[in-house]
């Protein structure tokens, strides 16, 4: 089983990213569950979503305690949340960042999802859309196939800019 924890703020699309990831995994012929951890709904508050992908049906409902991967859609949550908490040794990290952050002992990739969203004019109510570009980054990491990623995005969004943004993230993500 592969376990991913996504950190974001309410309204940034972390929950949708989890859903897209699960949908893409389903297209890859795998089993997947995605579950946001909900509190009372508050825009802007730090939230986490969990995605599990496996070859067998998934029976676990409790939170992911030792993820194989952590995705950080908003680095500002790192001020108050330990995003590395429980991350497995050598575990992987995707960070939405234009810079190059490093975390010793982990495999960290930086990708400027916000920049991509702004370039592709993927902005809703003043906020850049991060949930579709990040799917491209996850495909690059081999969590899902690129084809399934596109299929999932197209199922949920009719606007092709979303697919373009995912493509851009796929190409631009640091090695």
């Amino acid at each position: 089983m592969f376990e991913i924890r996504i950190h974001s703020r309410g309204g940034q699309g972390g929950v949708t990213a989890a859903r897209l990831l699960a949908m893409a995994a389903l297209h890859d012929g795998k089993y997947a569950t995605a579950c946001p951890f909900y509190g009372a709904e508050r825009r802007g508050a730090p939230i986490v979503s969990f995605v599990r992908i496996d070859d067998r049906p998934i029976k676990i409902y409790s939170r992911i305690r030792q993820p194989d991967m952590v995705v950080v859609l908003d680095t500002s949550v790192m001020d108050t949340v330990d995003v590395l908490h429980g991350l497995k040794k050598g575990g992987r990290i995707i960070i939405n960042s234009a810079g190059k952050r490093e975390f010793p002992g982990f495999e960290c990739r930086n990708v400027d999802l916000t920049g991509i969203a702004l370039r592709k004019n993927l902005v809703v109510a003043g906020s850049p859309i991060l949930n579709t570009p990040v799917i491209g980054a996850l495909a690059k990491m081999g969590i899902i196939t690129a084809d399934s990623a596109k299929k999932a995005i197209r199922e949920m969004f009719s606007d092709e800019r979303n697919v373009n943004a995912a493509d851009a993230a796929y190409k631009e993500m640091s090695a």
Partner: protein
Amino acid sequence: MKKIATGNKAVAEAVKQATPGVVAAYPITPQTEIVEQIAEFVSGGLMPTRYIAVESEHSAMAACIGASITGVRTFTATSSHGLLYMHEMTNWAAGARLPIVMANVNRSLGPGWNIWAEHTDALQERDTGWLQIYVSTVQETYDAILMAFRIAEHNDVLLPVMVNLDGFLLSHIMQPVDTVELGDFIPAIYLPHAIDPKHPAGYGPLTGPDQHFKFRWEIERSMRDSVKVIEQTEKEFAERFGRKYGFTEDYRCDDADVIVIALGTLGKEAEVAVDILRNEGVKAGSMRIRWLRPFPKLELKGKDVVVIDRDYSFGFGGIVANEIKAKTGISLYSVIAGIGGQEVTYDDIAGFVRTRRMGEEFWFGVNTHV
């Protein structure tokens, strides 16, 4: 068709396919997504249904009652305080022999305000005459709603059915769900006592001490008859759509020395604990109770039984544990865990089994054996 859906969306999808004539509902977290989705289906012309946006849950059930007695299929959804607020009407619905189907998203009761999973809400309804099922996956949620209409409306039953799914844990989780071509799986509704101005009658009038108990016995008789209807319905569902269900879901129970019993998602997560324990050489099994009313026949003699209650009856004990004790006469280990969404993992469940003390009660997180 396979897709990813939340438990709430799966409920709405199944209700859409069952095409009730009237849905009357009031929003409450974490159920709201169900009624939002149904309202969207109705306003988009995808459901030939009257959606009544009532001003309270009491009125939601009252409106379902008023609609149902005309002979149309009815549905509502609620949770927690909403369910308790309609308690008077849930009794009425069963007493009036109306096959209303309701999704209840299990949530704790205040104070303090807590929106997370707990079963005390539905368990406080267990004496109302409603059939109750507790589900554990998005797929099972979808399937259970479809079967609920058929079971409730079967003329040997004519009692309302409550489908229970855990708040957030199941209502908001996204899992694969395989939707079906329903065909004639749910026959057209026929309510033999439907109200008809051509045949005037009094419904639910004053009923004296020489008569009332007869109506109550009729409810009980139908509850007993529902066992066969549930079996038939689940059998035909399996034949048509390939998914098998039963009163309980038994996992590695055949040769088990110790059996874990829980409702809902905890019962599913317990299967992971069972695998861990088996690897340690412990002959464990999981028996997830699905139908709580009518209460299933349980074969537990000679086994150690660990019951996890995500609920409590103050001054008495875990409700499910004590129902099992009353019905089977066995001694068991009663664990109270998951109250108000308290995190309970498969490791925790394996721990309950390893450190079990038969005949005792244990509050997880409080660490007190009673």
